[in-house]
């Protein structure tokens, strides 16, 4: 399973956009097998918290299927990254 770390910037239902630390923006669809529910995504977006998304490619679509969203193992906080 692949991983991407960044900040969730937009949430619509179970779909969210993650801006990675390198500035790339990727769209994800939350899998029903994920521990989080779609309503949890808004909280993560509003908190601007860095998260790591574990995902697989969503077949036939240009998006990732997010199987888990967890705190990042390490790395700078958003303010540190900005500095």
């Amino acid at each position: 399973m692949r991983e991407m770390t960044g900040i969730i910037t937009v949430v619509q239902e179970g779909r969210f956009r993650l801006v990675a630390d390198d500035g790339r923006s990727t769209l994800f669809v939350l899998s029903p097998s994920a521990r989080l529910e779609p309503q949890d995504l808004t909280g993560l977006q509003q908190a601007e918290r860095r998260v790591t998304v574990r995902y697989r490619d969503d077949r036939g679509r240009i998006a990732g299927l997010a199987h888990d969203i967890v705190p990042p193992r390490s790395g700078p906080t958003r303010s540190q990254a900005a500095a």
């Binding site: 937009v10 619509q12 239902e13 179970g14 769209l27 029903p32 036939g60 679509r61 240009i62 998006a63």
Partner: protein
């Protein structure tokens, strides 16, 4: 500029489409290119309508104005964060999206007509394209809503039909119930999806993304009664100009609003048979077929029982 355009946005000057005294007065409050706040009741400026709960809203799609730019498709995907589908060339004109799906809530249909009677005198550069931006019709008596066993599908305060994602259990009953083939199950998240008529935008006083992005005003958003009146005037105007094949689809008494559907919140102006655009000529609510189906089933069971009784009683003799 056409009369329909002027009717849709009455503050736009008829002559040049410019502002000149006929601009909505509130536009002058926002002259900067970049605005750092959401404009209150922005729909007043973009669609000429104030969005209030309790009123009935919808779309009027005038297919004679559609140029097939697909701005509505893109705007819908952008606002709703819907993933693009990885598709190649479909071979169906410039239509590679092919149809509505769980991740495509607006779809521009391209129909290339071959007029066999006038093939010889038609110039090679002339296209016979019909274009139509298709969408969920938000039916007055929505069959998907009737079929939903969990109450995930509900009618909003704006008279539109929306799927609540946190309640949908993905049973899929709504999919065959829709006579237009709009609702679709997403195999990735296991839930039903369709156009929400930008429910979140309406709550924020914003015009739906597709209508706002439409450069020719083929898609018009507003209160249903106003749209209906505007659409009738447009049909009369087209008839006067010689386009006598123009008609409304989805308004009361018209094709599309049949079989108990009463009316479609998103209705269309067409210039050919509905089937040409991929729309059913006479859609019906599946719930109307319950009684005949039950009656037929009971009659079949009774017939079989009678036949069995007759056969067995014959053997005993």
């Amino acid at each position: 500029m056409t009369e329909a355009w002027d009717t849709a946005k009455p503050w736009i000057s008829k002559s040049a489409g410019m502002i000149e005294g006929s601009l909505h007065p509130r536009v002058l409050d926002y002259t900067d290119s970049f605005i750092d706040e959401v404009i209150p009741n922005e729909s007043e400026l973009t669609a000429g309508v104030t969005i209030e709960p309790g009123k009935s809203y919808g779309f009027f799609t005038d297919t004679t104005l559609c140029i097939g730019c697909k701005a509505c498709e893109v705007a819908c995907k952008e606002w709703n964060q819907l993933p693009a589908e990885e598709q190649g060339m479909s071979g169906m004109s410039y239509d590679n999206t092919r149809g509505l799906s769980s991740s495509t809530w607006r779809h521009v249909t391209f129909v290339e007509k071959v007029d066999r009677e006038h093939t010889d005198d038609m110039q090679p550069f002339q296209s016979n394209w019909l274009m139509m931006s298709d969408v969920c019709k938000h039916c007055a008596n929505a069959p998907c809503l009737e079929a939903c066993p969990t109450g995930a599908l509900f009618r909003t305060e704006f008279d539109t039909v929306v799927v609540q994602q946190d309640i949908c259990n993905g049973c899929g009953y709504c999919v065959p119930a829709c006579p237009f083939g709009v609702v679709d199950l997403d195999m990735s998240d296991g839930k039903a999806h369709k156009c929400t008529l930008c429910y979140d935008r309406l709550k924020g006083g914003l015009e739906p993304a597709c209508a706002k992005s439409c450069p020719t005003d083929s898609i018009q958003f507003g209160e249903w009664d106003d749209l209906y009146e505007r659409a009738q005037e447009r049909v009369e105007d087209l008839h006067e100009r010689g386009a006598t094949n123009a008609y409304l689809y989805g308004t009361p008494g018209a094709p599309g609003a049949t079989g108990g559907l009463e009316r479609l919140q998103a209705f269309f102006l067409l210039s050919d048979r509905p089937e040409v655009y991929g729309l059913p000529a006479a859609p019906t609510r599946p719930s109307r077929r319950v009684a005949p189906a039950l009656g037929t089933g009971l009659a079949t069971a009774a017939s079989l029982a009678l036949a069995a009784i007759f056969l067995f009683s014959g053997k005993r003799r």
